[in-house]
């Protein structure tokens, strides 16, 4: 039971950090789920996060996997509700007030100011993720190729990411990594 409360607290807190996308919450997610509560290891967190990028819909459904690991179906449901309810309610009510805020003088300042901080948080998330995922030069090459493909072409990201997984298996087969 206590674990369900811990899950609810952790994911409700992470929910509020997702400015600019789910990646912004990644540094704190690693800190809490791996280092503080030991619900899973850092490689496992990376695996779930990456697998979540292949799942359809919102790209942070991996919170349900962590919930399931900790507390089975109830854990998964608690993690999902905790992660989506706080920001969901905020969006619901601010959405209704938005027309009043549209002409507020501070609104553009808040939008640009928080925008750059959000990019900084996503960058921090990318750095922390890269430290765990790019353990060998080959994995750096995979990341670079996927980056170039997605940056320069309109290919569906699912293809290069699945291909990365297959290359990972090939590297394992040839004992390279």
């Amino acid at each position: 039971m206590k674990q369900l409360w811990d899950l609810a607290g952790v994911f409700a807190y992470l929910s509020l950090l997702t400015v600019g996308g789910g990646m912004a919450a990644f540094p704190e997610m690693k800190e809490l789920t791996v280092d503080t509560y030991h619900w899973l290891t850092f490689p496992e967190l990376l695996h779930f996060y990456s697998l979540g990028q292949l799942a359809p819909g919102p790209n942070m459904m991996m919170v349900a996997s962590i919930g399931a690991v900790v507390g089975h179906i109830p854990g998964a449901l608690v993690a999902l509700v905790a992660f989506f309810l706080p920001t969901g309610l905020l969006t619901f009510f601010v959405g209704r007030l938005w027309s009043h805020l549209a002409t507020w003088r501070w609104r553009p300042a808040i939008q640009s100011g928080l925008g750059s901080v959000a990019v900084g948080l996503v960058l921090a998330g990318a750095i922390i993720m890269g430290r765990g995922a790019i353990t060998e030069i080959f994995f750096g090459v995979i990341a670079l190729v996927v980056f170039l493909l997605l940056w320069r072409t309109k290919i569906n990201p699912a293809y290069p990411i699945v291909a990365s997984g297959l290359i990972g298996m090939a590297l394992h087969y040839f004992n390279i990594a």
Binding site: G21, E28, G57, P58, A76, A109
Partner: protein
């Protein structure tokens, strides 16, 4: 607001239809980029929104915390069918991906973490780093306008990633400084 006025906006969809359309988008929006799927589904196919309202709702979604996909479901659902609409749209959007990731959690626990699946997952983790960097570049291109913005980005990232500053502190301190930097000046007021 006369009834005879044409072209009138189409009647709002039923809650069942709303749930179904979001469920289909939630199940088919593979490989991220949910925003493109939302626009195709809501503006082009169902014509529940015009492009102007879509962009307006998207800018709210991007400003507030929360994921774009769920924030958009809430705002579009609320606009079409009120609070219940927001709820069913969000449930539809989340149900397919959430079911898959719950299954992934169980499989991983039940011996799905053998060396082969670990090798596969390590590979996709490297690929996902590439994906995150693309998102970063696109987000940056849209958001960062002045040299000061890049300083805020670098300061926030270094503080969090290298000095382990907790994100809320970084968010509040850097946020206040950055908002103050962009504060409304009197000369901007017409």
């Amino acid at each position: 607001m006369s009834v005879a006025e044409a072209p009138s906006p189409p009647a709002p969809p039923s809650l069942g239809k709303l749930f179904w359309v979001f469920l289909v988008m939630g199940a088919t929006s593979l490989g991220g980029g949910v925003v493109a799927y939302l626009r195709t589904g809501l503006v082009v196919r169902q014509r529940w929104l015009d492009d102007l309202s879509f962009v307006e709702l998207l800018s709210i979604s991007q400003t507030l915390p929360g994921l774009n996909a769920t924030n958009m479901s809430i705002l579009v659902g609320d606009r079409l069918r009120g609070g219940m609409g927001a709820l069913v749209a969000t449930l539809g959007m989340c149900l397919p991906g959430a079911s898959l990731m719950i299954a992934a959690g169980f499989l991983y626990g039940a011996g799905g973490d053998g060396p082969w699946s670990k090798a596969f997952l390590h590979g996709i983790a490297a690929g996902a780093v590439g994906l995150v960097v693309v998102v970063l570049v696109q987000l940056g291109a849209k958001t960062l306008k002045t040299a000061a913005d890049y300083v805020f980005v670098a300061a926030t990232a270094v503080a969090v990633a290298f000095f382990k500053v907790p994100v809320p502190y970084a968010l509040i301190v850097a946020g206040i400084i950055a908002i103050w930097w962009h504060r409304p000046r009197d000369k901007d007021v017409p």
